[in-house]
Structure formats: C-alpha cells, structure tokens
Symmetry: C2
Subunit: 491 residues, 2 copies
C-alpha cells in the first residue's frame, strides 16, 4: 500500500507524523511552525468545537470576539503574565509595505512604523480585562460569563502538527465574578465540562488535578487541569481552568460596587482547550493502520463501499444503498457512500481504515440477493454479516457500543499505568520501562520538582483532586510528605 | 430615556454609531481601528454564519484552515494583487520581546528579527494557492471546493464599527477547477448563494451585477457583486464573488494533467462576505428607537416581559410563561423571558426595542384572568391582544410575516430608488436630492468613471446582470453607450 505508515513500535514520533499526514488531517504550511488544517481535519475539529460550544452555552456562557492585537504595554501590566508570554510572541511593528526601490517585490515602509508595537494574542486576558473595566460598575453587572473562539500565536521553536504549532485554534473563557467563592466554583465547573467532553466525546479518560506552583498559568492563583495518557506512556495536558484571583482586576483596575456600595476588585477565571486536543485524540486511540475515531465526533460515522461488476450490479446496489443511507441519515447518523469508480474496494477499505471511520458497510451482488451487508468495526476490526432488516437500529447501537468500548479500553490502559512507587530506583525504573503516571511522594518544594525534572525529564502532571492523604517520604530528598503526586514524562 | 439615540434625520452617521453602541452589539477596543464584538452582536453574527455555512455545505463545499501569516514575498507573486493589498497591511517583523534594560516593561528583542517579514492575511489567495500547488496533480483532484472562516486585517485609516474595521471576521471561499466554464459557473453559483442569504435571511433585496474593471478585486478577471441600499440612499456592497481566471495558478505554478494527460493551469474563484453584513443589516432596517432585526437571524425572536405587583402575581405569571416558553422552544423559536426584578417593564420595553427583538409579549395579572397576552411587533410597532390558546401557531406565523414584511418594505424602498437619468444635470440632482441607484449611460472608459467619481463621489456600483441593452449617450462625455450602469454614492 502506498499509504503504509511507520509502526508505533518502530518509531512512535514518526508514526504520529505519518498518521496526521496520510489520514489527510493537516500538513505543515510554507510559514514556519504553522499548519494547514485540511478539510478532513477541520471537520473533526468542527464536531469537537460544536459539542463544546453547546456545553458552554448550556452552562450559561455566551460568545464574543476581542481583537487579535494586544498593545505591548498591556502584556507588562501583570508581572507573572509577561514573564510567561513575552518570550514567544509575534510582534507587529509596521502597517504598510511599499514597492521596493530596486523594482523587485515589496519592502516594509519605514515611514509606517507603529508608535507602540502590537503583539498577536498568545492568550487574551490582558485585552479582555482592559475591556471588562468599562463593562463592570456594579455587582448587578456580574458575573460576566464570556467565551471566545479564536486563533492565537505562540512562537514555539519546536513544533509538531496539532500538538504544538506557532498558530493554533482554541477557545478561551474569561469570566468575572463578585466573590472568590463564585470564581472558584466557575473554575471547577469548567474543569467538569472539559472532563465530560474529553471522556464522553473523545472517549479519553482524564485525571483531574491541580498544577504545582511551577506549572501554573502565568498570572493564575490556581491552575486546574485534566491530564490524559498516550499509548507511549507519556502524559498530555488536555485542558486547563485557571482561578486568577484578583490579579488581572488589579492590573487593569476593574472594580465594582458591592451590595453595601463598597468598591471591590473583581474575581476572575480563564479556561481553554485547543486544537491540541486533536493530537491527544489521535495518539490515544490510533493504531498502525491509521486513525480510530470515536463515533460521537467522527466526520463520517459510517462509510458504505459497494462491490460490483458492471453497470447493472452498480445500479442495483446504488438503489439499495440509497434506502439504507436515507434511513441512517434520518437518525442523524453521518454516512458517506463512496461509489467512486476510479478506485477499487480494497483501496477504499484501506483508505477509510486510515481515516478512522468507525463503521464500514460493504455490499456486493451476493449480499443483495441475501438481503445482508458486511459490517466492519474500525476499532476491533471485527467483521460480521448483518441483515438489512433492522440495520439502522443495529448501526445506531453499534456506534454507541464502539464509543463505550473505546473509552473502556483507554480507561483500562490508564488505570494500569498509574504506578505507586516508594523509592528513587523504582521511580526511575517505572518511568523508563513502563511509563504512565508515577504516583510518588514529593517534599512540596519547587527545588525538588526542578531537580527531578532535570534528572528524569518527568514533571508533576498534577496533584489529583480529592487526593488521598497519607504520610510518606519524598522519593528524592526523603523529606516528609502528606500525599502522592502524579509524575510523568509529557507532551 | 438614558438610551435615546440620535435621530436619522438629524445625523445619519451618528444615528448608526449610537445604534451599534446602545444596542450592545459592538464597541471600539483599545487597539486602533479594531472592535470588540459584544455577546449580543456575536450571537447575531453566529446566526448569520451558521446559515451561510449550511448553504456552503449544501452546495458541496468543505471548511479548512490556513495560516494567519503570509510570507511577504507571496504577496508580490500576483502583480495586481500586491498593488491592491500591500498598502494597508500589518507586518510582523520580530518574534520575541525582552525585558527593557531600563527595567520598565518589555521591548522588542532586536536579535529576534525574522528573515522574511510576515503579513497578517488581508485575504488568503496567495497562501492558499501556494498550498493547492501540492494538492492538485490530476483532473481527478479537481474541483477543490474549500471555504475558510477567519479573521483578516486591512489597515484602514478611517474605520466605522462593522462597516470598516482594521480586523474583521469573514469567510473566504477558494475553489480550483479544471475548466474556465466550471469556474465561472461556480462564481455565479456563489453569487446566487449570497443573494439567497441576504434576501431570505437578512430581508435585504440586492442588485446582482458585475464590477467595472476599476472596481474589480485585485487579481480577478471578473468580479460579481451584490449591492444593497441603505436608508440614507447610499449603496453598500454586501458580497463579492470573483472569477480569478488562471492568474493565481500561474503565479503559484498550479497545474494539473487533464484527461488527455496534458498539463494545464488550474482555474480559480474566490468569494467572501464579512461582518460588514451586520452593518448593512442595521442601516437598512433600523429606526430611531433602535434595531429592527429579521426573525430568521435575530438572537432572540421573542421576548416575554411580565407585569406584576408582588410575589403572588409574579409566581402565577412565571408559571404561565413557563408553559408558553416551552411550547415556543419546542417549535425551535428563540425566546427570552426577562423577569429580572431590578428593572421595570417600561425600561425593558425600550431595551428590547433598542435591541430589535422582533416580537414582544407582555403579560400582566389581568391578562392572566382573561387568558390573553399583549403582542407587539418591533417592525410596525403594532400591538394586539391575543389569546393564549393557539399562541404558538400565532407567533410562528407572525415571525414569518415579519420576515416577509421587512423584505417587502426594503424592496419597495430599493425599487423606488432606482432612477434612470439621461443628462448630467439630472444625474447630479438625483444623487444630491434623492440618492439611491442612478441608472445612466456611460462610455465604458475608466477615465470617464474616474472623472464622474471625482466630480460627484458616485461610483459605478455594478453593471446589472441580464442588463437591458439599449442605445444611449454617456451622461458625462456624450459618447455612445449600449447599456445603463448603476451609479451610487456608497459605503
């Protein structure tokens, strides 16, 4: 097959790259570090986006749109924030080109220099809180529960399709509240929304937790996260929800008069997920034949491939398939009929395996006679002959079963890759030989965290929510510890 | 009322600005020329976007996403294109900031200068055709029918909310075809999609036509457009669809082997509409009390305002409204119940008039007794007492009627503002005293077109499609002409 991809066992990184390219999801563009999201990849992202958008709206949020540009001075207003983002941003310095005096092409017009440089947003806290200043006067104006779908730019030096690109698509929620408790409640609520989305739609189990101080968002008082596990045993942060305290309100002077008519600073949260989720989805579920997509977000849930000789057979199959397709579509099932005569059934089988379509229906002349079709599951590769009578119900149930079975498989993998260890030797050995989350005691200092990262490349992915409290000793320093935290090597 | 806006008759430009600000659609941001689209404005845009997106998909198009950045050299590859866009673009020259040596804030790091500057896309033909080069080898790879929803930047010096902003949101379709005829067919098909959208959803009649050479898109062989008419008699271009010939294929060397296995350049189209449509919508339909939104795209189609004294009445009304709301929502009607006790009914009436909600239902204690509600249409201000029995059907029909009636009103206005003139004197008088489209003979030269624009600020909005052919004399030069073209002053 021309479309063969590198096996996971051979070279996991190359497998991932092949997967993205050969399934036609995305490719690198002519612009360093930026990708083109191809139609198949974008259809997948649209399904993810639409599901999330509905969940945001169902929890009382509305969408808005803020400028792409952030005045340079805004970034500096919150001290931690600028430290986190200034190092990797695209800077607009001019607003005009002119013809090159030497006659070739165009050059930047030096006369058109901006008085203050503009940064392409790496995240929008600063421009949004500068705006909220005018929107909030009284407690009656709160809460603001606003989300934005947008492109952002972070000038990463090492990029990988979907996982880390200079420009990426995401959503960023920015909410404003009258009280600390309400803001924390919102932060946790959105962590719950992300958890439900990733688990129920992407079929990917998560660990909910808190980041350590070193790993927090630049400007946050607390960063909540969901961590997922890839097939190579590395962790991937799938989403974060930040409690920002009053940091941005103070930086941009956003106050409100409370019910007692006293001025107070507003409390903030922000939360985001990005096209990085697509990378997580691929690396968690796919195999050496290509993608395996969960039915709930797959661009096509069912593909139908006819197998025929001659026009007469084709016509009869076309007619039968039309009825099947209409019945499936009436149930809201996304179905594609591929009767393109330029490619053969064997090529199509491989192609839709590569693209991860959850269910394939093949139908030939003999099947017609017997009133059956052949059904193949992408996830298990099981094939089965099924009667056309009751086919729609069968498919509907099968899609549900595939969704659940993909989650169960990923959950079992995750559960078998959370390993408690009690010594440094065990810690290193587990990271090197097994991977996954290593549950270990830690003395709670940033120094030890940094030393462990330096020695092993493992970071503290999170301190799990509702973590069991137990006495123990830090695996590196032997100092006392009250709980285990989850370490892993990560994307 | 604190929310009063300037009357149209007094100052049309100020009326428009007040309208946008006081109906909470958008506002200027801290970044020159960029706007913040507020939640109510964004909900309106989302409804427009979703309707268009469905029409694109129903006509066989798919979405994708291309980079925000365009390498400077790409712009120069198509000669007319760079002339059109180089003068007003945001240029990224650096990719990092660093702490200011003087300790205050951050400065651009001179070490982080890009080898080649990147332009924020003003439109994406160049980056997309550079990508298509790798996607097209054979006639079997054609057509490519791709659309992108994106933000773009054009560094306009004079900006107005929605109508002309430095950054705006839009969609841009970019299709690739094997033949000239097929590309022209696509160009015309998309003009038809825009026409149906603007007329059926926005209730705004259009004139379909071709742009003159001077007004064409930079790089197009032919620009099709739809022109709309605002209440002040000025025209507004609502959408364009370009036949690009082989210009971009030649600039980016995009060829395919045809059925005879010969290499040919690919044929191209591009087409777009933007958040500018929101401006057109507002200026065409609104009045001195605020917005008037067509039901099909209004964020809320119905608002319900309770009128009560005391908790007991409120409870009874709440219960009744719940039943009404559920019945309306079951029919897919977007309804808001505003029982906020911080504001009085009179304030709410004015507020929802300002926001252009098509239908207002008021319900008081006496209405409850009589099993009726008071219904007010935003467009005609008519009020009527209507029985609660059969209310859902009544509302459903009323929304349809409002949609049609708004279109009919705008259509009558448009029809009465297409004025054929046969002399220069008449031409100037009509422009100054009546406005609208002036149908006049023109000698077909760019010189005369420019002279007329210089003298009157009127431009040729379009040469109508299926234009009646008739002998005549150019209103300025007296030279022979074969058809009338539509002049107007325009936004």
């Amino acid at each position: 097959m021309s479309k063969e991809i590198t096996a996971r066992a051979e070279d996991y990184a190359q497998w991932y790259n092949d997967l993205v390219l050969k399934s036609d999801l995305a490719e690198y563009s002519a612009v360093r570090g930026c990708m083109v999201i191809k139609p198949y990849g974008f259809a997948l992202w649209e399904n993810m986006r639409d599901a999330l958008d509905k969940m945001f709206k169902d929890t009382g949020h509305v969408n808005a749109y803020f400028p792409l540009f952030i005045p340079k001075s805004f970034l500096s207003k919150e001290a931690a924030h600028v430290e986190g983002f200034a190092k990797e941003c695209a800077v607009v310095t001019h607003y005009r080109l002119k013809n090159n005096p030497d006659g070739k092409g165009v050059v930047v017009d030096p006369e058109a220099k901006l008085e203050e440089e503009l940064i392409i947003r790496p995240t929008s806290e600063t421009i949004i809180w500068n705006t909220y200043k005018d929107w909030v006067q009284s407690y009656r104006d709160l809460p603001l529960l606003i989300n934005q779908w947008a492109n952002v730019v972070r000038w990463e030096m090492r990029t990988r399709l979907f996982l880390r690109t200079a420009e990426f698509l995401w959503q960023e929620g920015h909410t404003a509240h009258a009280t600390r408790d309400e803001a924390i409640e919102e932060t946790e609520k959105m962590l719950g929304v992300y958890t439900r989305f990733v688990e129920d739609f992407m079929a990917l189990p998560v660990i909910q937790g808190l980041k350590t101080e070193s790993e927090r968002f630049a400007g946050a008082e607390e960063t909540y996260c969901i961590e997922t596990l890839m097939q190579d045993g590395k962790a991937l942060q799938a989403g974060t929800s930040h409690f920002l305290g009053q940091n941005f309100a103070k930086a941009f002077d956003v106050t409100f008069s409370n019910k007692e008519n006293k001025l107070e600073y507003v409390w903030a949260t922000s939360w985001g997920v990005s096209t990085r989720l697509v990378g997580a989805l691929l690396m968690a579920h796919s195999d050496d034949d290509g993608l395996i997509l969960p039915p709930k977000i797959a661009p096509f849930q069912v593909v139908i491939v006819p197998i025929f000789k001659g026009e007469e057979q084709k016509k009869m199959i076309d007619a039968k398939v039309e009825a099947i397709t209409n019945a499936l579509m009436a149930k809201g099932i996304r179905v594609k009929y591929d009767n393109n005569e330029n490619t053969r059934p064997g090529w199509k089988f491989a192609e839709y395996e590569m693209k991860g379509v959850p269910v394939r229906i093949a139908i030939g002349a003999r099947d017609l006679e017997n009133n059956v079709v052949e059904i193949a599951r992408r996830d298990t590769k099981e094939k089965k002959s099924v009667s056309v009578d009751g086919l729609t119900d069968y498919i509907e149930n099968l899609l549900t079963e595939i969704q659940q079975s993909m989650f169960a498989k990923a959950k079992a993998f995750q559960q078998s890759h959370i390993t408690p260890v009690n010594s440094w030797q065990e810690f290193e050995k587990t990271l090197d030989e097994k991977g996954g989350f290593v549950a270990a005691h830690w003395d709670g200092t940033a120094e030890t965290e940094a030393a462990i990262k330096e020695k092993t490349k493992a970071t503290i992915r999170c301190i799990p929510l509702n973590n069991k409290q137990e006495e123990g000793k830090c695996i590196l320093t032997g100092k006392p510890s009250k709980e285990r935290v989850y370490f892993a090597r990560a994307y």
